[in-house]
Subunit: 387 residues, 4 copies
Amino acid sequence: MNEDRRVGVWLVGGRGSVATTAMTGAAAVAAGLAEPTGLVTMRPPFTDAGLVGLGDLIFGGHDVVETPLAIRAARLVDDGVLPVGLPGALAGALEAAESEQRPGITGREARIEPQASLARMVSDLNAFRTRHDLGRVVVLNVSSTEAPVEPHPAHENPAALMDALDQNLAVLPPSALYALAAIETGCAYVDFTPSVGARLPAIEALAEAHEVPLAGSDGKTGETFMKSALAPAFAARALKVRSWSGMNLLGGGDGAALADPARAQSKLDSKGRLLEEILGYPVEAPIYIQDVRDMGEWKTAWDHVVFEGFLGIRMKLQFTWEGCDSALAAPLILDLIRLAALALERGESGVLTNLAFFFKDPAGTREHQLHRQYEMLERWVLQKVAA
Amino acid sequence: MNEDRRVGVWLVGGRGSVATTAMTGAAAVAAGLAEPTGLVTMRPPFTDAGLVGLGDLIFGGHDVVETPLAIRAARLVDDGVLPVGLPGALAGALEAAESEQRPGITGREARIEPQASLARMVSDLNAFRTRHDLGRVVVLNVSSTEAPVEPHPAHENPAALMDALDQNLAVLPPSALYALAAIETGCAYVDFTPSVGARLPAIEALAEAHEVPLAGSDGKTGETFMKSALAPAFAARALKVRSWSGMNLLGGGDGAALADPARAQSKLDSKGRLLEEILGYPVEAPIYIQDVRDMGEWKTAWDHVVFEGFLGIRMKLQFTWEGCDSALAAPLILDLIRLAALALERGESGVLTNLAFFFKDPAGTREHQLHRQYEMLERWVLQKVAA
Amino acid sequence: MNEDRRVGVWLVGGRGSVATTAMTGAAAVAAGLAEPTGLVTMRPPFTDAGLVGLGDLIFGGHDVVETPLAIRAARLVDDGVLPVGLPGALAGALEAAESEQRPGITGREARIEPQASLARMVSDLNAFRTRHDLGRVVVLNVSSTEAPVEPHPAHENPAALMDALDQNLAVLPPSALYALAAIETGCAYVDFTPSVGARLPAIEALAEAHEVPLAGSDGKTGETFMKSALAPAFAARALKVRSWSGMNLLGGGDGAALADPARAQSKLDSKGRLLEEILGYPVEAPIYIQDVRDMGEWKTAWDHVVFEGFLGIRMKLQFTWEGCDSALAAPLILDLIRLAALALERGESGVLTNLAFFFKDPAGTREHQLHRQYEMLERWVLQKVAA
Amino acid sequence: MNEDRRVGVWLVGGRGSVATTAMTGAAAVAAGLAEPTGLVTMRPPFTDAGLVGLGDLIFGGHDVVETPLAIRAARLVDDGVLPVGLPGALAGALEAAESEQRPGITGREARIEPQASLARMVSDLNAFRTRHDLGRVVVLNVSSTEAPVEPHPAHENPAALMDALDQNLAVLPPSALYALAAIETGCAYVDFTPSVGARLPAIEALAEAHEVPLAGSDGKTGETFMKSALAPAFAARALKVRSWSGMNLLGGGDGAALADPARAQSKLDSKGRLLEEILGYPVEAPIYIQDVRDMGEWKTAWDHVVFEGFLGIRMKLQFTWEGCDSALAAPLILDLIRLAALALERGESGVLTNLAFFFKDPAGTREHQLHRQYEMLERWVLQKVAA
């Protein structure tokens, strides 16, 4: 029954820093070359949940970039993201994943020939599944952030959406085409980006119709993770947050993508919602993202929080969070793959609200408090095991 | 039945900044002159718990200092702790509390004539209760931090302890004598300081014997509050904390008291325990307290947290917490008074472990995670109401 | 000869926070009610330079706002900028200044009737000088930041500029009209804002022609002040600055004005030039200004500096600067008034490059190193005294 | 004449991180494998001063540690101090230096057999000079910080000191014995540590008598470097510094050495003097050093500066400085060697006050302002060249 344990993983943005770190890391932990630090599902109580082993993941992916994984991994060593020597020790795993990379959908293709693009994705996913004789496949999007989608009536209705594609209308961004391809081929779909493609009502309806699980969106790796831990503390102490300003410096591809104000808007929207949800009142909470090329794979967030205490006195919390984006995202991606595979195994379909713990903008729920999200996750994983 | 609602509050350290802020604030909120910001028990779900009203608190206290409350309050206005004009508007309340201040026990008295000191405290408390015809009285210690107690066999056993006092042996610091006086006169006793006096086994046993509730110790107002919110987030994400250094600058009386290394040790001990309890492994976590007279009533804590993420990469969180100590402590004190009065009303005795939310070093429990402490508090307050 | 010592001061933006703080502070220091903290010219060696006394300044001004100075001063007390009681103690001085406030030029007036606006300013200045029988008058601009000026050929040439005004062409923003009025009436003109109006070549030529001194621009009060002190230290140690990101949170009127991207550009331009000038190589140095209304009169800048040391190792300096904008600007304004009055006394005309110490974007020089600017200032003040 | 250009460098603490980084770096820069970042003397105007080339330095040293340089260098690669591959590429240079390491003086030897220890050092230095036929030798102390010296009358007088040594009295710590050995053998002596050994009056007198130059003490690498750049800025702006608290976290050997309160005192003394010297008034300026083993070769300093501005308003500067101690110190050491060699060439003797730029506690001068120290250095190097 070893065959059954294997799970196919198809990463959109499969040649990016995050994907490369995740694949290298999965192989490293499976081989005993690294500790499972940062992997939530490798700690109790999740260790007893029968989740797929990291060594049983078969990786493939789409990307519009052509840099081979081995070269990307070497760069990540130079940037201090991957330990020296690790990519060499895992050359076989990287080669295997490299052989499963296929050309992704460009923005131009999504506009000009959406139907052909979708068909190509579907074909690639089916071929991947067949080639490896895979029961379960998880598609996870870690590509660059897209600009917000232009609203269109077809977004609201599955039939209208399929019609529009049949007419080759440019109504969907690449992320939505990937999501559709996953749904049509019976794969789970996880959106780790703030791109809104997979959040359209028509897509959610199609996922339910095809009985496929969806999860998203926008991986919660840094500043928002901190916010979701700290804001509940202010609420519990009845301290009134007056302003919470968040300034983010980031380099690498992500910084450049977000230097485009339209794309940044997707990110900011997904970061901005949680304070009011947690605190119960509106807060002046500007967020800004600055591209600093020099920072490479690293990001620093500075948050400046002014709060009011007893008798109206003003006090302050400031924090800086200095992290490596790929190293923060990669283990969450592996956790999500394992959990989405569990949902597939259980036959769950539609939006997986109980994975809110991992997302800045959790689909299907307004729960933003980190500890409550963790409790939801625990309950979901364990209750089902018990059943 | 209005008489029954009143609760006597006896503050040890009754002329200090914290006590003065608490008394002024209680009167201000009761009079509608200030919002109940920072008061946990003035928010849902605690608003339905039938807790004593802030206007029904009758204040008195012991102090070794003689500065009248009105003068202390004026200084707190100068230091920006109390709003301009507030002490004047509440002059009546401050005068009433001033008339109930009595001389406290000095360190010398505790050593030389402990029995007489204890008798004096008992007499003061009984007279206070009689004078105001009070059913319930809460004694709360907000005096300066004491040096750790020299161990003595009598600390372990109630009978031995009472014997030692009968022989006028110097086995107890002032804080323990205050606790004893509270216990003997049927008052609840809350220790808001890190002084270990009230944490001795003999005292806990006496509280149970006299059916009096105890709570403590060391109010969680700043850096530790942050730690108890943040450390669970690191644990939930399987991020490994490698070092957590906390440097505290504080002025005012508290800074000066803690400049004495022996006293600081009490504080550091009570701050140092929680990381390992929450994370489950030992962490290099130095804590340092620096007296900076210039900071007056304010304190700034800087915490420098190095953690390890995926594949061993090191990342960093740093925060500064800039707060006014008295403004942070005062509402917690009022919350604790209301909750201790509830325990008296319910006839609970011994250590109130469900008040852990308020303390750096919660008596009777190892639960340090802020959100779990909050849940304990909620359950305790509401479940009893239901019963 | 006491008459001769008096100097008229005409503040453009005369009812703003900065102007009100400067006028109140001048009166307070003159009356011995406050120390001269922050006043560079009240310390040696400038105390021997025979500068005008703060008590000999006669204040007036233009503003488009109508809030009386007394009300503005009361608000500044509420915001913690002015000490409680000070405006009351100096009511006479504030009333005198209030009686010398005149309506300023709106943006609309500058576009529609520039010539009439200019004539009105000239008339107001002449009347002020006559009313008080003043030998020397300094006009200083502390109004809100303007958007950058649309380039126009008339900006390059005095004759063309006067022609354009004669034809009522909208070629000048209000700041330039104020500068022209000062020049035409023989007043010194100091630009404390980043508005480029007074920096046009035609205006500088007119100042020389009328033998009037000019100084500017953009008062160096916070982040840039820090940069001009720190960047020379990196240079002296041969440490290579790789990126220097500056994020600024500010409230009050200034924050709102700079929320307008066009106006912010003026500010950013004037802040961005100095790093390359000091270090000698281009640096990735983004600057961002965020309006946070909640911050009121306060601003916090966070700077994140990555530098390279020996053998290419990367290290970091981060700082936060938390200041009250008006309190930082006001003493510099008083210093500039005293120094511009000195230039008038000496008959100096044209751009006063030796006042670079006070400006983010010093006119007439590329010297940005704080200590060199200070030496220039010292030399200029003292050498002339000696002569 | 190539022979004449060579300079012998004898490092006390020759196997430590700082010495290893300095030697590796000198070879790397000389070989064109690294940029001279951080080397002050490799930038104009010092490039024209005819200083010894980095490739003409011959390294040797004393140490009580026996770990070979190659192993130490490999560890520094692991810790991110040295670039991967660099020690391998420079194996020859490291081997040459390794062959010139000799056993240092332990604390015990300094107490029990000071005379024999001194004789051994003298012999080692003479042999080194002879072996390489060196005209000029510079001895530089980068060993661990010593505890302050117990005062002794012999410290004041050269004759008394030599007498005491003849009698084998334990009056000198190792650092002083190394200084004496340098002086007796005609070497320049530079103290890069806060150890006070070489600062005794008797030693300074002996240096003058032997016509040998001395420089020191305590290399200014981080927090104090920042202070010496920032404090003059506060002074220039007449802003009153009220408190300046400096908290330092450091790992590695230095952290452990300074965890010993007696040794830390040496460091704190040398850091504490400059604020009052620069500002002209006493400032509450606590400094604390915390050993955090986890930080390895890195250190983070947090400085919290409260200053008073116009009308007494309080404002704040906070900074964190995150640096690698060895990388900060190593280039300064190479600069000092080149400059001490210049002093030898010129026949200068006694304390080199013009090297204050490099030291926390500059010998022979109270000038602490960084830019003035830089000007002193420039003048000294260039004026002499001109002469």
